[in-house]
């Protein structure tokens, strides 16, 4: 499914946080959102996912304006993974993944074979099927993030938004999570801090600064030494990785 944003603007009180952002994501594409702290990545993701209403502009998913779609209907097609969502409740892995079926079930409906299959598929996809009964509190950070993604997958979405899914993870799990997201048969938009990971796993990248789009395009086109200096205020040398053929950034201490 395609996602198109047209001149989105949103802010809190007088402060504009997302300013006139337009972008489009092709079906099946993995789009990376990068930008310095406070550039509006998280807010833009929430606007795209329909969790916040833009002050002006609109978001269409597969040509349909999401403002006119009910929250429940929308959440059958669109999933959102927060960064490190936590709980004190003593839930099991299976309980959490089952929450993903919420938009597909009516208030008192029983547990259907379709629900069961979606949950089993999602657990298998993130390689957590062996941990179904494990309490949430005993999971490691990487496992928790995988369970969150499984829950999003159990929604059977066509589009997935992820807000810094690799936060607080070690490098192995960062790569594992992003490879999983890239290989999913979904349109996905991922906010990321690590520029090398964005270069490795995203089909295209949108660069934000101060709530506006600076540039957008393939990692090769977007990640230049000039852009890193302008937007991220770092000196860097950029080469092509001999291992994966994508741009590789080497930071130069000032």
């Amino acid at each position: 499914m395609s996602v198109v944003a047209e001149s989105l603007t949103w802010g809190v009180r007088r402060r504009t946080i997302v300013s006139d952002v337009s972008l489009s994501v092709a079906p099946g594409e993995t789009l990376g959102l990068i930008g310095p702290n406070g550039s509006g990545k998280s807010s833009l993701l929430r606007l795209l996912a329909g969790l916040r209403r833009p002050q002006s502009g609109r978001v269409t998913i597969n040509g349909r304006d999401i403002a006119g779609v009910g929250r429940r209907v929308l959440s059958r097609e669109v999933a959102f993974v927060q960064q490190s969502a936590a709980t004190d409740t003593n839930v099991s892995v299976l309980d959490v993944v089952r929450l993903g079926r919420t938009p597909h079930r009516s208030a008192l409906a029983g547990w259907s074979a379709e629900d069961e299959a979606a949950v089993a598929r999602a657990l298998a996809r993130v390689d957590m099927a062996g941990h179904r009964a494990q309490p949430w509190q005993t999971l490691s950070g990487g496992e928790r993030q995988r369970v969150h993604i499984a829950r999003a997958l159990a929604q059977s979405p066509r589009v997935m938004f992820l807000d810094e899914p690799t936060n607080h993870l070690d490098i192995h799990h960062q790569i594992e999570i992003l490879r999983m997201v890239r290989d999913l048969d979904l349109t996905s938009v991922v906010a990321l801090h690590d520029l090398n990971l964005a270069a490795m796993f995203c089909d295209r990248i949108v660069v934000l600064r101060g709530g506006s789009v600076v540039t957008a395009g393939t990692p090769e086109a977007v990640l230049t030494e000039g852009l890193l200096r302008d937007v991220f205020r770092v000196e860097a040398g950029i080469g092509r990785s001999p291992h994966h053929g994508r741009p590789h950034i080497q930071f130069i201490p000032g």
Binding site: A85, A107, W111
Partner: protein, 346 residues
Amino acid sequence: MTATADTGGGPARLALLLVLSGAVLVLCVALATAIGDYRIGLGTVFLAVTNELGLTGAEIPAIEQSVVWDLRLSRALVAALAGAGLAICGAILQALLRNALAEPFVLGVSAGASTGAVCVIVLGIGAGGLSLSAGAFAGAFAAFGLVALLSNGATSGPNHTILAGVAASQLFNALTSYIVTTSGNAQQARDVMFWLLGSFGGVRWPDFQLLLVVVVLGLAVCIWMARALDAFTFGDEDAASLGVPVGRIRLVLFAVTAMVTATIVSMVGAIGFVGLVVPHAARYVVGPMHLRLLPACAVVGAVFMVLADIASRVIVAQQTIPIGVVTALVGVPFFAVILYRARPQA
């Protein structure tokens, strides 16, 4: 076998649980009706009830018939409903506010109720036309209204709502103290104190009927929204991304809990501890998912409150200890065991 372990039991096991717990509840109510300063046999209790329902025409002393039907049975049933209602409200608020310390009075309802009650007892507002219960109910809803106002219709997030509840509680407690100290005499102050700690003395069938309607309706609404409540496990935004209309669910459930709590408080006073502890105990047994948790809370809360009421009447002969004192005295050791057994395995 794994399937049943995953769901925590199939329909058959759930039905068995409900039947069993229903039987335990009936037994507790029967005991509460039999036990007291004037002891009545369980057989007589049974006959008195069936007599009243027109099923039997057994010869039993009129006094026993009257004690069973007019005094104790209605009291035991009100206790059961109050326990069930408070436990459900506690579970709902703990989920919505994502706070293990949340309980039915966290939204200022009991503080408001006491101010309303004091206005009637001490100031004589309403001049007899307005009952204590009506005053308490009005006060409870005034407090809830203030909290709703301070937290923008409960849309501002859990901590904001809790703080609004704390502010409202402080304000209404201060008003209560002010009224009692400036215009109350010693006897009135004691009446107020006793009322605040809760008592099932004086409840009759009309109280039961009102409470039955309120608690059953409240439970029905909550169960209808149980799935949505589960979606709050990881917070409001997460619930929204699962398709839950967060603002509407919060407001409806806050209003329902305020309604149920205000009705209970205005009838039997602010009985503490049940609404805090029973949800934790029930969660420990049936897990945190609300479609199972809420009915469990209702049953456990009801049984706990009926037992506490029995204890309040038998601990000291010829005297009734305030029910709030008993719920804490009985509840704390019980809760300590659960806390101990549920401690994190380091």
